[in-house]
Symmetry: C2
Subunit: 460 residues, 2 copies
């Protein structure tokens, strides 16, 4: 066994009186800073168990002073020492070292620097960037947020379904997909499965079948898009949360979306206060206030048709959008969504009942014959963050639509769900990486993913 | 909003005295059985929120008797009624219906039958099989087991890392991979990423980099193999759990493996008692006892070399393996592993320090020059269920090995981890679907995955 060390997280969670009673503690981690005045040296040690560092002190009268003073930035080290309260300093205590050990040195070509480096540079060194403050915070929050998602749905009795990554279908009927192949000589595309197979763009259709057995279900896994969108919000591989609720209409859907988003935000504010303080100070001033406002607000509901009227009035009143051509039937752009949520409502808003032409085939047609029971959640500072809908449960209507689109073939099973004990059901999708962007204030999706996958970027 | 219904789970969790006080309850779900004697009818209603059904009674004096008696197997229905205690019957209470509503009927070509159907048949109807008892149990346990995994690691402070599915590497240096393409005319393979890309076979190498920042990390996501192994234990897409622990040697690794497996088993026995009773009765008699034995045992540690001696003695003593050619350096087959854990030890055993020739390049070479610090956990009734190792942290040794294998190119970053504040670290991998097989007693991996992906099987 390796020498038992106390984690920095545990240190900060233990009352100082308890720590001072200990004969000696062992800490291990990586050096974030190492400076000395000739008589006394200070190391900020980071062990990855929490956002905070711990200060280790070494003095000139110790036999290892010379050696430790040479420990480089980034080195893996271990110290034994005594915890001493430091009531006059910023940190509540420090460790006065009694022995030191270098576990792993650092070669001179180490790409990281003590000083702040750009996100662009760090993207090129994706395997090292979790060692920086920003990415330490981002990826810990990513982990905790994933747990929040699971906790929310499991507490509500949702069954987690691992929908497949490899599929013969394409849920949206649109969007570019990656095809997979075994590189065999004869039939590179059909050799393995006996038919062409692609990477999933959504687990929704597959998970709907499970909602017809378990009532409430959710997927949470990777999805793929082969579109070369070089924006700050698109990646070719990202994680999606896709819940599906049986015996639930669009109002039930909105209730669940609101509860889910609030739960996730609350969870992160509670579990990651140091990380959120960091984001609030260095990445996106005001992000905490933004999130707290969401928590405090009742999400407003507004029909798409009313949204269009509001936008028309804004244009008439002199507001300048990049696209000022507002008409019923148009697909809203981010600037329009943000106007509604930021300027008009001043808080989160569910925009619902969209024109059927701009929405997916599986969404339930309303009685007006023009709209479908689709909903987008718009939030200030972002625009759309969740998209959902009540699903078309009427066999004939759905089949007519699918036949017209020519995507019935291969999806007969999906249609059949409407013939075999079907019921009213609804669901939604949350882009997990975008939710993480919203919560942390990080403004490029590449900086929320451990090893981002975008066009022409596959270094690791 | 849809009419507020009480879930079957909630019904069973509420004291009967409380339920009897209610004027009326609403339940909704799917019909599992519907029979009547002319005067009184009984419906077993399943709503997917728990394994149990609820009995709904309808009598001939109600205006809807005729109609309800025709509700078919599988139909989605809603009932209002009064909860009445049934102290003399098997189930503690039933619902005496006061109104009924058919939400979704069932066409006559419904493939499911009231009577038991074969797993092979149900595999062909994967989208419907969660409606059967067995798969209701399997997929609820799958969901709860996934939660157990997250809970275990998050409670221990591990950071969950979404390692990429699309990669330029191949972790094991072996095994067939799926290549991905955009089907573009000019450069179908390199068009998107500027280089060939494949689906991951393991997140280990990627997650090791994060262990050098967060100390303890884990991945839990889909992995892929393009091998056409037509066995009950191989699928082309499956989920893997891959933890990685910094400042941890092989003993630390084994401690974590043992704690993890016991936690998962305990969690399922506690959270899924009805499902486990079902498996114990219908799928694998004795599975609960098997699991409880694992919980009660201290996992034994045994070197590979000792394992070989034991197998040699078994052969000398007349034991017949399919492969009786036992020698130091061989790769053990399942029959050998099972002999050691079932016959010799009679409980879980960590077999460790394997010949380096039969193990992966990243495993740490022991001082004997012949073995590496690899470990497999063997359990009765299964054989290997977890594989792990201490990783080679010494740059020169690792580089020599990788150069010899010719896989250094593209993995320089992985080598670099040894130059930039590296430390002793260890990790392991658990095939999630196989763990689920072990816990449920289900003996075909195709029956543990919502939509299994194997050679020539991609129906959905």
């Amino acid at each position: 066994m390796q020498k038992k060390a106390i984690s920095v997280k545990e240190l900060y969670a233990t009352p100082i009186e308890e720590l001072e009673k200990l004969e000696s503690v062992t800490v291990q981690g990586w050096i974030r800073t190492n400076r000395n005045s000739g008589n006394v040296g200070f190391i900020h040690l980071h062990d990855g168990t929490c956002f905070k560092n711990i200060q280790v002190v070494y003095t000139a009268d110790s036999p290892f002073f010379e050696e430790v003073s040479k420990y480089p930035f980034g080195a893996a080290v271990r110290f034994d020492g005594k915890v001493v309260a430091t009531p006059t300093l910023q940190q509540p205590f420090e460790i006065q070292s009694t022995s030191a050990e270098l576990l792993g040195g650092v070669d001179s070509d180490y790409p990281l620097q003590k000083k702040k480096t750009s996100f662009e540079f760090l993207r090129e060194e994706a395997y090292l960037r979790p060692r920086t403050n920003t990415f330490d915070a981002v990826f810990r929050v990513r982990s905790v947020l994933a747990m929040a998602v699971h906790q929310f749905f499991q507490d509500r009795g949702f069954v987690y379904v691992h929908t497949p990554e490899i599929t013969g279908n394409d849920a949206e009927g649109a969007g570019s997909v990656f095809t997979i192949t075994t590189d065999s000589k004869d039939n590179p595309y059909t050799d393995f499965y006996g038919r062409r197979a692609s990477l999933t763009v959504s687990g929704q259709l597959h998970v709907e079948a499970f909602a017809m057995a378990f009532k409430d279900v959710y997927t949470f896994g990777p999805t793929f898009r082969a579109e070369k969108s070089n924006t700050t919000r698109h990646a070719s591989e990202f994680w999606m949360i896709e819940p599906e609720l049986a015996f639930a209409d669009l109002d039930d859907d909105m209730e669940c979306i609101e509860a889910c988003i609030k739960y996730c935000i609350e969870y992160i504010l509670t579990h990651c206060p140091d990380e959120m303080d960091f984001f609030n100070k260095w990445i996106d001033k005001g992000v905490i206030e933004k999130l707290k406002k969401v928590l405090a607000s009742d999400f407003r509901k507004m029909e798409y048709t009313e949204g269009i009227e509001i936008l028309k009035k804004a244009v008439a009143g002199g507001h300048k959008f990049q696209n000022n051509n507002i008409y019923w039937g148009m697909d809203l752009q981010s600037e329009h969504e943000r106007y509604i949520t930021e300027e008009f409502v001043g808080g989160p808003v569910f925009l619902y009942n969209y024109p059927k032409e701009i929405k997916a085939f599986y969404m339930r047609e309303n009685d007006d014959g023009k709209t479908v029971a689709a909903v987008d959640l718009l939030v200030p500072g972002e625009g759309e963050i969740v998209g959902g809908s009540q699903r078309e449960e009427r066999y004939d209507i759905l089949k007519t639509k699918m036949d017209a689109l020519g995507n019935t073939e291969g999806l007969e099973w999906y249609l059949n769900l409407r013939k075999y004990g079907g019921c009213i059901h609804s669901g939604f999708g949350i882009g997990f990486d975008r939710l993480l962007m919203y919560i942390t204030g990080i403004n490029n999706i590449r900086d929320t993913e451990p090893y981002p996958r975008t066009a022409n970027a596959l270094k690791y």
